[in-house]
């Protein structure tokens, strides 16, 4: 049995004393996140600043068979950064360099600790923006978001897979690169690769197999990413935002299919009155008002245009949208009840992380949990009904359910996210929410909701039903992580 102090000393030698923390308060903070996952403490929190440090930490972990749990965000929502078996939390959130912006090939190379706020601010100087999810937390890492496959606001097919190349530390501690970053003879610093090789870091595929696909959705179990370049988009010259209000979710289905089929507009999502209220309300009092006056469901659609005849581009999109509206007897509007400036307000915030003190998903009661999965849009009403039934079973008001539907790759799939709110101080309520969460998740999975990001308790529910998929993934895991150090206990590992 190795002396723990010896291990700690070795780690301090790698990252410096101040970056190797076992203070109770620190361990406690890192033992939980915003999810309903149980609290679990690590043994140490290691703050790393470079790929070289990450390699050494992981090698050490292999030497002593210690779990390593990578975390790049200052906030977590899904439990993937909570250790299952103790070990070392490898905190990369301090790696905040924006290494390079390639405006010609439309990508940005960043370190894992860069947040959306930091990135958007930098990209704005170059006339670009990142494709972000809906109002991410200000501490949310861009790299983590991409690896977690969190849906972006843009349903454009080419922006749904934003990852290009990556610098990786494999679970063995070995250095690795994906895509055309792996070009032989490339210099050690990824940012200088385009200058010192004939590689512009644009090819995401390979080497050999499609690494980047295996590394997404793995919850850090297949390796740690220390640099990534992702696609970015031009900031439009002109934008309009229209709302289509619906009384029932069923009524929104066909119009939304048609919008996506005809590729009208860019950013697009559906929110119910509850979620929209949480976003638009200036203060807590307004939340309740808006929950009552806003339409039950609203499709928000951004029409945008770049440098070429922007008025005309907006014009044809608007014409197509209004023609659709006529067909479905809906008038697209730029205002919402009680929020006449809704268009401007939303346009102002959708490219940025949430700036308020309380994260919008928690504004209602102080805390929240989300059930999310992919579905064809035509089944969304079915799943929402099921959720409402489950809510009723546990005396959770249906009106307190948040519904957010995000198209991915136009018509192909829709992310349906159902928010539950609860008072974090009320343990009894939290317990009820946990039971509702579990019961509803189980029912949704059994009915055909595709939980493509099987966090926490979903992992067992999902993988017990997927036949040979879990054994295959376990085999891959076994190849990459023979000592089982990388975030053990996650997924089905």
């Amino acid at each position: 049995m190795t002396d723990w102090n010896e291990i700690k000393k070795e780690l301090e030698g790698i990252v410096g004393k101040g970056n190797c923390l076992d203070d109770e308060k620190v361990l406690e903070r890192y033992s939980r996140d915003e999810s309903l996952c149980p609290q679990r403490r690590s043994d140490l929190v290691i703050k790393v600043k470079s790929n070289a440090q990450v390699q050494e930490v992981v090698r050490l972990a292999n030497k002593y068979l210690l779990p390593v749990i990578p975390r790049s965000s200052g906030v977590g929502f899904y439990g993937n950064g909570i250790p299952e078996e103790g070990g070392l939390i490898c905190d990369l959130s301090g790696m905040k360099k924006i290494l390079r912006v390639d405006t010609r090939n439309k990508w940005v190379l960043i370190e894992p600790g860069v947040t959306f706020g930091e990135l958007q601010q930098e990209l704005k100087k170059h006339g670009f923006k990142a494709v972000n999810p809906l109002l991410p937390h200000k501490e949310k890492s861009v790299v983590t978001t991409a690896l977690e496959k969190e849906p972006g606001l843009s349903p454009k097919i080419h922006l749904d897979e934003p990852i290009l190349t990556m610098e990786v530390v494999l679970p063995t501690g070995d250095y690795f690169r994906t895509g055309s970053m792996a070009v032989p003879g490339a210099p050690p610093v990824p940012a200088t690769i385009p200058d010192e090789t004939y590689s512009d870091l644009c090819n995401s595929m390979g080497p050999g197999i499609d690494w980047w696909r295996l590394l997404t959705g793995c919850e850090g179990t297949f390796g740690i990413i220390t640099a990534m370049n992702l696609k970015i988009a031009l900031i439009p010259k002109m934008r309009r935002l229209f709302f289509l209000p619906f009384g029932k979710i069923e009524d929104a289905v066909e119009p939304m299919y048609r919008i996506q089929r005809k590729e009208i507009g860019n950013e697009c999502f559906i929110l119910n009155s509850h979620d929209l209220a949480l976003i638009l309300a200036e203060d807590k009092d307004e939340i309740e008002i808006l929950r009552k006056v806003l339409p039950p469901y609203v499709v928000a659609l951004v029409l945008d245009a770049g440098e070429w005849y922007p008025e005309e581009k907006i014009g044809y999109q608007k014409e197509a949208l209004f023609d659709l509206g006529k067909e479905f007897l809906i008038e697209p509007t730029t205002t919402l009840p009680h929020v006449p400036e809704a268009e401007a307000r939303l346009l102002n915030i959708i490219d940025q992380p949430w700036s308020g003190e309380d994260y919008w998903k928690f504004r209602y009661k102080g805390a929240g949990a989300s059930i999310f999965f992919l579905t064809p849009l035509r089944r969304a009403p079915e799943f929402i009904n099921l959720m409402q039934e489950k809510a009723a079973k546990y005396d959770y008001p249906a009106s307190d359910l948040g519904i957010y539907i995000q198209p991915k790759q136009r018509c192909h799939a829709f992310s349906l996210e159902i928010g539950l709110s609860f008072n974090p101080e009320d343990q009894a309520e939290k317990e009820r929410i946990k039971i509702l969460f579990d019961d509803a998740s189980e029912a949704l999975i059994n009915t055909g909701a595709f939980f493509y990001r099987p966090y926490g308790s979903w992992a067992n529910k999902v993988f017990s039903r997927t036949g040979n998929l879990s054994p295959v993934l376990k085999k891959v895991k076994g190849i990459l992580d023979p000592n089982k150090v990388m975030n053990p206990g996650k997924l089905s590992f």
Binding site: R104, N105, K106, W107, K156, H158, F176, R177, S180, A182, G185, T197, Y198, S199, D200, C202, N203, S204, M205, G206, P207, G208, I209, D210, R213, L214, L215, C218, L234, R261, E263, E312, Y316, Q317, A320, L374, T375, P376, L377, Q409, H412, A413, T447, G448, F450, Y452, R453, P454, A459, V462, T466, G467, N468, L469, P471, V472, K475, V476, I479, L491
Partner: protein, 551 residues
């Protein structure tokens, strides 16, 4: 490893008489592929050892599983394939069993709402697109020709006329059923979850397409056989049936101008002296189109593609060359009224402005190049009916060089690789004697992907089907790789398949060792199309050097 009578009997019991054969006459028709020099030389070297010991025709996923389990029991190698177009789908030695999916040709579903189709391995692009078009949708069409298997193409490579919006094969692949080299079945994507259906590709957890696909290519059947997929369809506002006029080689296809517009663009440079400028300005065109996010087709075609694809006959091709119908390469841009006619008109306005901005000139409708290309051939880009016309000049051809990187990056690769080829090929010198300008070794096919976020390119070389010229072509491939390594070109990353894993893997963080472990784990008996994706053993440095010499 030998294929035995007992193995044959076991296969026959599972598949039924008439769906299994070891008759050498029948097997002979699975023994030859000429159009890539390595395949051609492999046949010369192996002779009838390249004839499979047996060919099987399974009719379902369950039958494929049974075949592969029998393979593991009797230890014979098997080759999963689609239409069997590339040489990796042929035996690398004696005793292989070819799995011909001809009986697995169902289009199971064409989902109009969620825009996907579910298909089996022997469904071709033409069939899928035909059925999709009836419902206002389409799918890409590869330059190999719309007669190839969709499933195999998406699992293997896949570069398309409309890659400008569609990307490559892996990006069009959704959920899939995969029979592993042990015979176990794994489902990936939404189909893995009960009652979720076929609509999505990714998860749960890691995206298993990562194992299926690679740097440019898949595992060439080296990790089992995919037996069913769902695949993406995109909007098609055009006629529900592809319009055609005329007979045979005079057939043309024109789309309604209120839904589609084609443009052919050239640049005012001296050719071939200023070819580099032409390529650079072509790329500028793509960068600008990409920023504007318009069009559904955008590509640059070197003369080799224009002459071959547009040729009615071989003589026609050579006559056109003599008459210099295509004096240089051209860019082709296609617009589609996905949203509305007004959108189409808007995009046309923008295309015109962008072309002016980059110094391009629209080819007029009465110019021979327009008549030959746009009128006769443009709709190849929707449905490639004449893929193998690339072989027309010499009745065989080879890939000269490929790259996948930025648009700028592939221009560099075109110029570098063509210069290498010009000096190397005796066939090129020969062809250069008789004609105004040589056919190959100038320009390439530039296929920008996803609105120019990245780009793919190939050049082709036209060599006659002979041992001498095939060896020359392979030597050239080696020179190209050498040049790419010296340049530290992104092109090296895409080469990993078969023997090149051992040569190049050590240069890329020893990726070959990981992939060999994957191969050994999932194919413990090394039966799934050896030596793909890679041979299971780790070679010493001396062995690698020897192999490099042999290749």
């Amino acid at each position: 490893m030998a294929f035995t009578k007992l193995a044959f009997k076991a296969l026959e019991d599972v598949l039924g008489k008439g769906n299994v054969t070891d008759d050498p006459v029948i097997c002979q028709s699975y023994s030859r592929v000429n159009w890539l020099p390595p395949g051609y030389l492999q046949r010369v070297r192996l002779g009838t050892d390249m004839r499979p010991a047996c060919v099987v025709l399974p009719g379902s996923t369950e039958e494929v599983q049974a075949v592969i389990r029998i393979a593991n029991r009797f230890k014979f190698p098997f080759i999963p394939r689609g239409s069997g177009y590339t040489f990796q789908a042929f035996p690398a030695g004696k005793g292989y069993v070819v799995i011909d999916p001809k009986r697995m040709n169902r289009i199971i579903e064409v989902n109009e709402k969620d825009m996907y189709a579910v298909i089996e391995p022997y469904v071709t692009f033409a069939e899928l697109q035909t059925e999709a078009m009836k419902k206002g949708m389409t799918c890409p069409s590869p330059l190999a020709g719309a007669q190839v298997s969709v499933l195999a193409n998406y699992s293997w490579h896949g570069a398309y006329g409309n890659s400008w919006i569609s990307g490559i094969g892996a990006q069009n692949l959704l959920a899939f059923e995969w029979v592993l080299p042990t015979g176990d079945l794994v489902k990936s994507g939404s189909i893995s979850s009960p009652h979720a259906g076929w609509f999505w590709n990714d998860g749960p957890g890691p995206d298993l397409r990562g194992l299926l696909r690679g740097g440019m290519f898949g595992h060439a059947g080296g990790l089992g056989m995919v037996t069913k997929i769902s695949c993406r369809l995109t909007p098609w506002p055009g006629p529900r049936v592809l319009p055609t006029r005329g007979i045979s080689i005079d057939k043309i296809s024109e789309f309604p101008k209120d839904q589609f517009r084609w443009y052919m663009i050239k640049f005012p440079f001296k050719y071939p002296e200023e070819e580099e400028k032409e390529l650079i300005q072509s790329i500028e065109l793509f960068y600008e189109l990409g920023k504007a996010e318009i069009a559904v087709f955008a590509t640059h075609l070197a003369k080799q593609f224009l002459y071959t694809y547009s040729s009615k006959t071989k003589q026609d091709l050579f006559d056109n060359m003599k008459n210099n119908v295509f004096p240089h390469g051209y860019c082709v841009v296609g617009l589609q009224a996905t949203t509305s006619v007004r959108q189409l008109n808007y995009e046309e306005r923008v295309v015109k402005d962008i072309v002016a901005k980059v110094g391009g000139i629209f080819v007029k409708e009465d110019e021979p190049a327009y008549q030959v290309w746009i009128v006769r051939t443009a709709n190849e880009w929707l449905r490639f009916a004449h893929g193998i016309r690339l072989a027309r000049p010499s009745d065989s051809f080879s890939i000269g060089a490929s790259n996948v990187d930025s648009c700028d990056g592939i221009v560099r690769e075109i110029l570098r690789s063509n210069k290498t080829a010009r000096d190397a090929l005796s066939s090129e010198k020969e062809l250069g004697k008789d004609f105004v300008q040589p056919l190959s070794v100038h320009g390439g096919w530039i296929s920008p992907q996803e609105y120019g976020h990245w780009c793919l390119m190939t050049t082709d070389i036209f060599s006659e089907q002979s041992v001498k010229q095939a060896q020359e072509a392979i030597e050239l491939m080696g020179s190209q790789l050498k040049g790419q390594l010296e340049d530290k070109s992104a092109a090296v990353v895409i080469h990993l398949l078969g023997p090149s894993y051992d040569i190049l893997g050590p240069m890329m963080n020893n990726v070959h060792l990981i992939v060999k472990k994957i191969k050994n784990t999932f194919d413990p008996n090394n039966l799934s199309n050896p030596p793909y994706a890679t041979r299971p053993d780790v070679l010493s440095e001396e062995e690698v050097k020897k192999m490099m010499g042999a290749h």
